[in-house]
């Protein structure tokens, strides 16, 4: 039967070559497509570099690893798409409103103003002492908790796309991170206003926010991948994550200060959210964290990234079947 098909193919080719209007038979036909082929490629497509796609069942770890790395590399090439998707997500959320995404800034600002006054009274602290601390803590926590909760739906929400085109899965994770970084950028305005209002300046320790932000970015991508995959497979995880984050909000020093805990403060580094928060909050409030906090944050991040990567290498090929 194969041979039949081959003969038909040849017959077909001959026919098309004669009338020059039939189906193009290959890179030699007379329709002018080949010339167009070479002329039109001004930019070789970065999304499909070698344009060879190969899958073998029962792949070894090394092969899966290679495919996972390629997934990441392809996603990096598509950074403009990730950026655009994240930006459209925000714009559509506030579509038709006068302030647009600055509603985020406004609502965060109002909340922090109210909480700041209330809790400074409750804790017997001066507003000047408490409000800047609360503004930084609350806004950073908002980023952490939204990243985690939205990570759960980062693959399940784009089911239609995953089923209709081969896209690097990392792209969907990046979209989640980009979107939340944009929200963070809008909220940072509140911090700037509070600091300007009280005439505060954190000083040179501000430079330490650069490595901290870098670590946050890596962790955000890792946690999105990890939870996104878990939640695609097990649908009861999102509510569990939701309630855990609620608990962490209260046991992490966000509304209260670590000093208020007395000698229990020594146990705080057991909370990964605390150390991660501290490496970015410390420099912002002019109190850079000790090296130990950085060390703990690096260890937690390393574990998180390793876990996320191992799962990604193992489950990437199955993800399309899960959603």
């Amino acid at each position: 039967m194969r041979r039949d098909a081959g003969e038909v193919r040849q017959k077909g080719d001959a026919g098309h070559a004669i009338d020059a209007g039939g189906l193009r038979a290959g890179p030699g036909s007379a329709i002018g497509a080949p010339s167009m082929n070479s002329a039109a490629i001004e930019h070789p497509n970065p999304a499909m570099p070698a344009v060879v796609l190969e899958f073998t069942a029962g792949m070894s770890f090394a092969e899966r690893h290679r495919l996972a790395l390629r997934d990441v590399a392809d996603a990096v090439h598509l950074w403009r798409l990730a950026w655009m998707l994240g930006w459209f997500d925000i714009r559509l959320r506030y579509r038709g409103s006068m302030l647009g995404p600055f509603w985020l800034t406004l609502s965060t600002g109002v909340m922090i103003g109210m909480l700041g006054v209330l809790y400074s009274a409750l804790f017997h602290l001066s507003v000047r002492e408490y409000l800047p601390y609360l503004a930084v803590s609350q806004i950073l926590w908002l980023f952490l908790s939204t990243i985690v909760s939205e990570a759960c739906t980062c693959f399940t929400l784009v089911e239609a796309v995953i089923r209709s085109i081969r896209m690097p899965f990392m792209l969907h994770a990046l979209r989640n991170v980009v979107r939340n970084l944009l929200v963070l950028a809008h909220n940072v305005v509140v911090i700037v206003i509070v600091y300007a209002g009280f005439g505060l300046w954190p000083g040179m320790s501000l430079l330490l926010t650069i490595p901290a932000l870098l670590l946050w970015f890596i962790d955000a991508v890792a946690v999105t991948l990890l939870l996104g995959m878990f939640c695609a497979r097990f649908r009861d995880i999102p509510p569990i994550v939701g309630s855990l984050m609620q608990i962490f909000f209260f046991v992490t020093p966000i509304l209260w200060k670590p000093e208020q805990l007395g000698h229990f403060a020594a146990y705080l580094p057991l909370n990964p959210f605390y150390v991660l928060l501290e490496i970015l909050r410390g420099p912002l409030i002019g109190a850079p964290p000790p090296l130990g906090v950085w060390l703990a944050a690096s260890i937690y991040s390393l574990l998180l990234c390793m876990g996320a990567w191992l799962l990604f290498v193992r489950a990437r090929g199955r993800l399309a079947f899960w959603i």
Partner: protein
């Protein structure tokens, strides 16, 4: 019919397209109620029932032992009833599903027309949707500009391109979706049958563009219920049933066995077969 180059050609001119599918099986685990739940899985693992759970997992075999090779110039039609595995095969070729058994090798740029509204968002403007689709296909900025011009010229939406899709008429949405899908010209074209549906007025115009794209592709894999389309466009047919290939060969012969009678030869009109096509044997 020497038309100016249309669309955006993707892929490497040097390497000829090729598809090798070798003993491929794809199965879907059915994660219904129980196994979707982490609680049940943890409890099962804790009580040592995970193995049993795994062996009792319900699996749907969507493709079984499928093998074929296609080289530049091949036009393959996939026929078979609903649920025969045609779409799964297309998705496997597109790299969306990775096979659990066997080997798939695709050489050449791929465009899979599986979802007419891929990545389209009704709240975004036509122009933004064009940009998004271009980025989904990994186009560079020069190609994005060409894509916009190309789609604009074909879809004839005029000023509507700056308005959100939700205010478009359904016909306009179809035009935009079709223009976008056919703008990107790959080496390997994978096409699901939805693509041939559409109101006849539009299809008159659409067909020429579609044929142009099909002609430009080195390899076509088309899944369709319409025997006449398969006969006209394909030189080889794979007949599938329950995920298996039950016949593979020259299109006229297989179609005749599939239908139980020869494909009725319709009057040659623009809507049923490509123009200038020689009569098939």
């Amino acid at each position: 019919m020497s038309t100016a180059p249309r669309g955006i050609v993707v892929g490497h001119a040097g390497a000829p397209a090729r598809i090798d599918v070798c003993d491929v099986s794809v199965s879907f685990p059915l994660y219904h109620g129980n196994s979707r739940s982490l609680k049940k899985t943890v409890i099962a693992a804790a009580s040592g029932r995970l193995g049993q759970d795994r062996s009792h997992r319900v699996v749907v075999q969507a493709l079984r032992d499928v093998s074929f090779s296609l080289v530049s110039g091949d036009r393959l039609g996939l026929i078979g009833s609903n649920g025969a595995g045609k779409t799964t095969l297309l998705r496997t070729l597109a790299g969306i599903y990775e096979p659990v058994v066997g080997r798939v090798r695709m050489q050449g740029s791929i465009n899979a027309l599986l979802d007419p509204n891929l990545g389209m968002n009704p709240e975004l403007t036509g122009r933004e949707n064009i940009r998004l689709r271009g980025l989904y296909n990994g186009l560079g900025s020069a190609q994005l500009r060409r894509l916009e011009e190309d789609v604009q010229a074909f879809a004839e939406l005029g000023d509507f391109l700056s308005l959100p899709l939700r205010i478009y008429s359904s016909g306009m949405v179809v035009r935009l979706g079709f223009a976008l899908a056919t703008a990107i010209r790959p080496q390997i074209l994978l096409m699901d049958e939805w693509f041939l549906a559409g109101d006849s007025d539009f299809m008159e115009k659409a067909r020429e563009r579609l044929e142009d794209m099909v002609r430009g592709a080195e390899i076509l894999v088309l899944s369709s219920h319409q025997a006449d389309v398969v006969r006209d466009w394909c030189n080889r047919v794979l007949w599938m049933r329950d995920g298996r290939v039950i016949a593979d060969g020259e299109s006229g012969e297989i179609l005749e066995r599939y239908l139980g009678h020869p494909v009725p030869t319709k009057e040659v009109t623009g809507t049923t077969r490509p123009r200038n096509e020689p009569p098939l044997p």
